[in-house]
Amino acid sequence: MRATPVNRVTGADGITEGCRTEDGFDLYFGPVHPGSGNFGVKLTVRGEEVVAARADPGYLHRGFEKLMEYRTPMQNSVLSDRLCILESLNWNLVHAEAVDRLHDTEIPDRAKYIRVIMAELSRIQSHIIWYGVLSKALGFDTGFKVAFGYRDYVLDLFEFVTGGRVYPAGYICPGGVRRDFPKGTKERIRELLTKMEKMSREFEAYDNATIRTRVKGIGVLALDDAIRLGATGPVLRASGLAADVRRDAPYEVYDKLDFEIPVHEEGDAYARSIIQRREIEESIKIIRQALEQLPAEELPPVKPKAAGKIPEGEVYVRNEIARGEAGVYMKSVGESHPYRCKIRGPDFLHMIPVLEHLLVGAEVADVPAIYWSLNICPADMDR
């Protein structure tokens, strides 16, 4: 059946009626746009210039905070995968830490190291996606394909360790990890890291003048604006502030590991892309150290319990995930389910105030570059 053409009313200048405003012309970037993910921004453009930008969140809202009030911590662990599809293991860790703190559980050392290794692999994997989608936004398709090719090697490892490629199903769960590393994991991770180093060198080789012209001086976020608008993680570090929860308030075993925090002063899309590549290298360094220090004793698997109550109390846990600072506030009144679980995702602020601030004054052609340089994740923002 042929689709009925939409009867658009156009003015003398060819602009659809209803899209013309006093300031210019309304342009919708997303939420169903190949370059936007599941998120939309309403732009008002005058010629090539964006004069106003209004983020339009809610397209991917699934109501996690409410869902978590009806589930046990182990079930919530599985749910926490979906908070950000691109870095499930990191979100598993934030949630698991909040429950552990309420229970006052002592986690075995080996489990702590496994948690850090998996979280860092998840960060690498997430940064690879960031590199891929930023390349795609710049029209550099090779970068996108190479990045996603390498990402699959990490997913192969996730499948080997957790049983799932993208969703680990709460592998990092309250009490440790759901199962120990299978035999041969250390060797496989070392092989993977060699591949990641090769990938890093490839990414460096692709950093040429064509790419730089598209990102240098684009979407400049000054440090005071970054702080005022609530930017965290790589976006804040690209604006010149060396803030990282892993160093400022170390959790798990980060205090025993030696790593640097890459910082850049420029605050533009190019600085953010450099931070992204440096962070992959730092994560490789962290994993190598963690593998060296990994205790040898066997780890019993953590099984779900038929019944159990969360001790009364409230906690706030924050972690450094690939996109910035993630937090979970959990309150329990002594029932089997949490009374309240508030989630603080880094992208809520990156995708609404920061993005709106950066888009005003930009050119239409630079919108995807600015958008993807912020390492966005609609799933994390809408929750």
Binding site: R71, V78, L79, E159, G163, R178, P182, A205, A209, A306
Partner: protein, 126 residues
């Protein structure tokens, strides 16, 4: 500018692709993969733990069909794969080992009825 790209291009011409030609060739599925369920009614104790732990309420305890009811008088798990997220909590909580996740991943179907996996595969449920 092009110095980094040209050797890479030449190398790519002679290197193996990153992908494999599925279905002629496939990446091996590791042990511990969370795929389709294998349920053994013989060792099931009808404890209902799998149904209670399921985060998506994909498991419903149903009665055995008439012809089996004498041997199996209790209720047994029926899995709705449309709701299942393959987390494996049912496998972990099952003390008798009746519920296991396998390496099966060819699950797409056009028939909605096949999404339900009753405990007794052959006949209709009550």
């Amino acid at each position: 500018m092009a110095i980094g790209v040209i050797p890479q291009l030449i190398k790519n011409l002679f290197s193996r692709p990153m992908t494999v030609r599925f279905p002629h060739e496939a990446i091996p599925i590791p042990d511990g993969y969370r795929g389709e369920h294998a349920y053994d009614v013989g060792s099931c104790t009808s404890c209902t733990l799998c149904a209670r732990v399921c985060p998506n309420r994909a498991i419903e305890m149903v009665k055995a069909p008439e012809e089996h009811r004498e041997k199996y008088p209790k209720t047994y798990p029926q899995i709705d794969l449309g709701k299942c997220c393959f987390c494996g909590l049912c496998q972990d909580i099952c003390a008798s080992g009746a519920m296991k996740l396998t390496k099966g991943f060819f699950l797409s179907t056009n028939d909605r009825a096949t999404v339900l996996r009753p405990p007794f595969a052959s006949s209709e449920q009550d």
